[in-house]
């Protein structure tokens, strides 16, 4: 067995090595587990490692390979799973105290599909409680650290997943993205992160946050790996009525037109970091130099997207989190009356950010405020979606920075929720309108003597993920 650098391994490469017999799945699992053992204490990216299960799954893969069975498309996928996606028999807590001892009674559809394709699950990863946050600091189990600088956040809410992939503790990971929770941590950790088209991937078995925005997607080291996982997990599922049959190859232009929306921090505002902006234009120029047509475009209502998002998301999550009542499952503080059981269980089980957003949701939906907040937000959401419909008549792909800044410091924004929310400013419009978007690493900027990754976001029309993969694979060659 030759030396394998887990930090550089992709699903493609691991699959090749397994098929050629260079290494067995069992050996790779054992390498991952010893690396996790060494590194996880400092990073806190895994909340739990599935040692026994991973070996059992790896042995099955090895048996398949020994029999010369080439039918498993995902042999080579040693995957970390965000702690809000159900794996039968495993604890799934959404990084909340209220679900600390909850065990999943069924597999999420994405898990079922990945299992059938030959994936091995290494463990569950840390996140902001119920996916509410942009730094993983809202986890009830302590923050995850950024592998590039442990004084900094990995982003969130899928911070544990992104940090695991970035530090070679998994070849790929699953995350969920409601307002940027895959793409923002992918950007901060120098990995690829895809938020699929709304409805492309089943949400059955995902602990719901905001149901009109949530999507499950991959966090990977290469664009090709993101494509591989996406092609396996997508498709209609009877258990999720919002999932749809994925339309095959809608368009596939050889030379797509790339739109640069001027509202994404490129003219003024949003606290856009100059170095990140320079990197962004470096990437734009690469496309330009290679004959891509670049077009300056406008998405007029972008500046309202964050306000719309912070009305619609809490409204939906306050309803979704009503099920945590100390009666059905999870933490229960048994009290004198049923109402006290509800209240006491929720006081003890939810962290401050959850309470804040539940109350915010209750406020925007309450009588007297509904029209001013919720109804207005749903109307502006229509306008934001129309902006995308219009711009995609002119261009095939949009290109923006994923975040205005590189990873910020631990504790920097915890005292001021609004400033934390603003770090999602470039990612929420894709969730509001349902279009797919992918963040990919492009170069680094230096802060305090540490090199921090920069993320470029590509956005395409509904169900045109292929355009993201094609443009992404091209740009990937120039990432240093």
């Amino acid at each position: 067995m030759s030396v394998i650098n887990l930090g550089e391994l992709s699903i493609t490469r691991a699959g090749e090595m397994l098929h050629s017999g260079k290494v067995s799945a069992r050996e790779l699992v054992s390498m991952y587990l010893s690396e996790i053992e060494k590194e996880n204490k400092g990073l806190n990216s895994y909340l739990e490692v599935f040692s026994d299960g991973a070996f059992a799954e790896a042995e099955k893969i090895d048996d398949h390979l020994k029999r010369g069975d080439q039918s498993l498309p995902l042999s080579g996928a040693f995957i970390a799973v965000k702690d809000n996606i159900l794996i039968r028999g495993k604890t799934v807590s959404a990084s909340s105290k209220i679900l600390e001892n909850y065990k999943a009674s069924y597999d999420a559809t994405v898990i079922k599909k990945l299992k059938e394709a030959g994936a091995v699950f290494l463990g569950r990863t840390n996140m902001d409680e119920f996916a509410m946050g942009s730094s993983t600091e809202n986890s009830a189990y302590g923050p995850t650290k950024n592998p590039y600088d442990r004084e900094r956040v990995p982003g969130g809410s899928s911070g544990g997943s992104a940090a695991a992939v970035a530090s070679g503790l998994a070849v790929a990971a699953l995350g969920s993205d409601t307002g940027g929770s895959i793409r923002q941590p992918a950007a901060f950790c120098g990995t690829v992160g895809l938020k699929p088209t709304y409805g492309a991937v089943s949400r059955s078995g995902l602990i719901a946050m905001a149901s009109s925005l949530d999507q499950i997607g991959p966090i990977t080291r290469t664009v090709r790996d993101a494509e591989t996982i996406f092609n396996i997990i997508r498709g209609k599922d009877i258990l999720d009525a919002t999932s749809v049959e994925y339309p095959e190859n809608k368009i596939n232009k050889l030379s797509p037109i790339i739109g640069i929306p001027r509202e994404y921090g490129l003219q003024e505002g949003f606290g856009m970091d100059k170095d990140v902006k320079d990197k962004f234009y470096e990437a734009v120029n690469i496309f330009k130099e290679h004959g891509y047509n670049i077009k300056d475009v406008s998405l007029r209502h972008t500046e309202y997207a964050l306000a719309v998002y912070y009305i619609i998301m809490p409204a939906e999550l306050s309803s979704n989190l009503a099920r945590f009542d100390g009666v059905r499952y999870g933490l229960s503080e048994r009290s004198a009356t049923l109402l006290d059981t509800y209240i006491n269980s929720r006081i003890k089980g939810f962290g401050t950010e959850s309470k804040r957003r539940i109350m915010l949701g209750a406020h925007v939906l309450s009588a007297g405020y509904y029209d001013a907040y919720y109804a207005r937000a749903q109307k502006v959401r229509t306008l934001i979606k129309k902006d995308f419909e219009n711009v995609f008549r002119e261009v095939d792909v949009l290109m923006t920075p994923t975040t205005p800044t590189p990873a910020f410091k631990l504790g920097e924004k915890t005292g001021d929720p609004l400033s934390m929310y603003l770090s999602d400013i470039f990612t929420v419009p894709a969730n509001l309108s349902g279009v797919p978007a992918m963040s990919m690493p492009f170069g680094k900027v230096e802060r305090d003597g540490k090199k921090l990754p920069v993320g470029i976001q590509l956005i395409s029309p509904w169900f045109c993920e292929q355009s993201l993969f094609d443009a992404g694979k091209f740009l990937e060659k120039f990432n240093d």
């Binding site: 069924y106 009525a241 048994r334 929720r346 349902g434």
Partner: protein, 98 residues
């Protein structure tokens, strides 16, 4: 902008309670966040429909048929409840004698 009465009502609606320090903090945060929402007043929304569905394709309904899950599913779901009895989830009485 957010009164103590509002906070009391929101706590009731949300089925939560807050310590005094946490309450002061959340009240301040909610005020800042609601202040940020004022921005939306700049947008003209006359005649614009609310976006009630996120999906391009209309949500599909399934046939209204009875489908039976294996009995072990039901027992697993009940098993997850904090209090149960004879295959049922046990709940405190909702109505109480005065």
């Amino acid at each position: 902008m957010i009164s103590d009465r509002d906070i009391k009502k929101l706590k009731e609606l949300s089925r939560i309670d807050l310590g005094s320090k946490e309450e002061a903090r959340i009240k301040k945060d909610l005020e800042a966040i609601l202040g940020y929402f004022e921005k939306l007043k700049e947008v003209s929304v006359d005649g614009i429909e609310e976006m009630s569905f996120a999906s391009e394709i209309s949500v599909s309904a399934r046939e209204d048929e009875e489908t039976l899950s294996p009995p072990e599913i039901a027992s697993q779901l009940v098993e997850a409840a904090p209090e149960k009895e004879e295959g049922y989830i046990k709940v405190k009485a909702v109505l109480q004698k005065e």
